[in-house]
Symmetry: C2
Subunit: 91 residues, 2 copies
DNA sequence: TAAGTCATTATCCTATAGGATAAATTTTAA
DNA sequence: TTAAAATTTATCCTATAGGATAATGACTTA
């Protein structure tokens, strides 16, 4: 799709995805959960794909469903997750 | 993908998508913005698709990029958006 | 009553997100 | 050190999310 009609730059979205991935990684590591365990918990069978989502490689990123399940697995609220993301994002 | 490996039920995700759509609609209407204007603001050229995302028809739903742009257009934080969604969701 | 927004339903198409696989690399612990 | 566990890189495939299109309906006001 041609996204140029929106005045919100693609770069900004990319950065957001990146910060989201970084934050998932941070939270996961702080709870001593392996990528494999987290991936399986949220129904992703490929650690490689999961890894790429965390690290924003090959344009892979988490979607709403992933994040919902990740937050639930971590025992936190989406709103709290995004609050932390926002702090990182604007810094 | 076979999502049965995750113990978080599909029904729950569907409901979440639904509440998200309803909330976007609520906020959009409260700001007197038409579907067309919002769709264009976030780079969606099809009001039909946008409408289906708001109403969760044909399994259409907003993704992270959509929601990021919607929140920015509405002038609110993602975290605040999701806080409201959570209140609706658990009720 | 017609014309003009605004929104919804329905169907179809395709670019790509989601995922599989394999191999390399890095980390950990024995 | 070495073996295993954990992570990352890279490439490829395909199911479907994202979107186009068209027709319908609902509401407004001229």
């Amino acid at each position: 799709m041609d996204k140029t009609l929106s005045d919100i730059p693609e770069k900004e979205i990319k950065k957001y995805h990146k910060v989201v991935g970084q934050h998932v990684k941070l939270l996961r590591e702080s709870k001593k959960i392996s990528q494999l365990d987290m991936a399986l918990a949220i129904g992703i069978k490929s650690i490689a794909f999961y890894s790429n989502c965390e690290n924003n490689k090959y344009d892979k990123h988490f979607n709403m469903e992933h994040l919902y399940k990740i937050c639930k697995t971590l025992g936190i609220q989406m709103s709290d997750f995004f609050k932390e993301v926002e702090q990182d994002f604007s810094s």
